[in-house]
Symmetry: C2
Subunit: 147 residues, 2 copies
DNA sequence: TATTGTTATACTCTATAACTATA
DNA sequence: TATAGTTATAGAGTATAACAATA
C-alpha cells in the first residue's frame, strides 16, 4: 500500500491531536485486550471485578459509562460463561453484587498479562522523559474523564 | 452512590495506568463524538475523508484497523445516508475511491466542532505544563500505535 | 495467481422503553 | 415514590467465510 497522509499526526490544535491519538491507540490496545471468548467491554468489567472485588450493577455501569440495561447484559454473559457470580446484597434486597469466580480471576489475570506484554515492550523503547510525559498524561486524562 | 475504589487511578505500573486512562477518556470522548445519525466508527471514517479526501477501501480499513469487510459495511451506511460517494478508480478497476458529498463535509465539520467543544474546555482548565505533557503524550502514543 | 472489494451470517456492545421487586 | 435491576427489541460495529471482478 502507498504511504498516506493519514499516517501522519495532524499538527494543528492539541484537541485534534489528542482525540486522534487516543482513538488510534485505543483501537490498537483493543486488539491486544480481547480474547477469543470475551469482547472488549466484558473483559473490562471482569478486570474491574478482579481488581476491586464485589461491585453492584449500578456502580459498574457508571464506571464504564454505559446504561444499567447495557451493563446487565454484559454481566449476564460473564455469568453464563462461569466467570462471575451474581448475589443479592444481604443489606439491601434491591442490590446485586457481582464477584469473579476462581475461573474469572484466572482469565482476568491472564488477559491483563497478555494485554500488557505489547504495551510494556513499547514503553521499554521510550526515553525516561517520554515515559514521564505519558505518566503525567495518564493522570490528567483520568481527571478529565471525570469532568 | 458511594465513593468507590474504582474512581481512583491505579498507582502501580505505567502500562496499567495508561490502558485504564485511555479506555476511560475514549469512552468519554465517544459520547461527545457521536451524533444521532452516525456512530463512532462511521464518524471517524467521515472525518478521515473530510480531512484527507478520496481514499480506497483498503486504506480506510488499515487506518481504522478493521477488516475490509467491516469497513465495506461502514462506508455503505455513509453512502446510504448521502454523506459519501463511491467511485471506481479510473487507473485501477479493482479499486474504489470514497469521497464526501457537500453534506458529508458539512456533517464532518459540525461534528468536529461539537466534539472539540468539550475537550477544549477541559484543556483550557489545565496548566501549560500539563498541556505540554499531553502534547508530548499525543505524539508518543501515535508512534506507539504504529508499532 | 494476487489484489480489491462485496455479501452473508453471527456475535458483541449499546441504547430506549417497559417491566418487576425492594426500600 | 424512588431506587436497583431485568427483559425486549433494535441498531451499530466487528469478524470470518465465501464470492466476484480486475490486474
Amino acid at each position: 500500500m502507498d504511504a498516506h497522509a493519514s499516517d501522519t499526526l495532524p499538527s494543528d490544535d492539541l484537541g485534534e491531536r489528542l482525540t486522534r491519538s487516543i482513538a488510534r491507540i485505543y483501537r490498537r490496545l483493543r486488539a491486544e485486550r480481547t480474547s477469543g471468548e470475551l469482547g472488549d467491554a466484558a473483559m473490562s468489567v471482569l478486570g474491574h471485578l478482579h481488581r476491586y472485588g464485589p461491585t453492584t450493577l449500578t456502580a459498574l455501569s457508571e464506571h464504564e459509562r454505559v446504561t444499567a440495561a447495557s451493563m446487565s447484559q454484559t454481566v449476564n454473559r460473564l455469568v453464563g460463561l462461569g466467570y462471575v457470580v451474581r448475589e443479592t446484597d444481604p443489606a439491601d434486597g434491591r442490590r446485586v453484587l457481582f464477584t469473579p469466580t476462581p475461573d474469572g480471576h484466572r482469565v482476568a489475570g491472564d488477559a491483563r498479562a497478555r494485554r500488557h506484554a505489547w504495551l510494556d515492550a513499547q514503553l521499554a523503547e521510550r526515553t525516561p522523559e517520554e515515559r514521564a510525559a505519558l505518566a503525567e498524561a495518564a493522570r490528567v486524562l483520568w481527571e478529565m474523564a471525570e469532568g
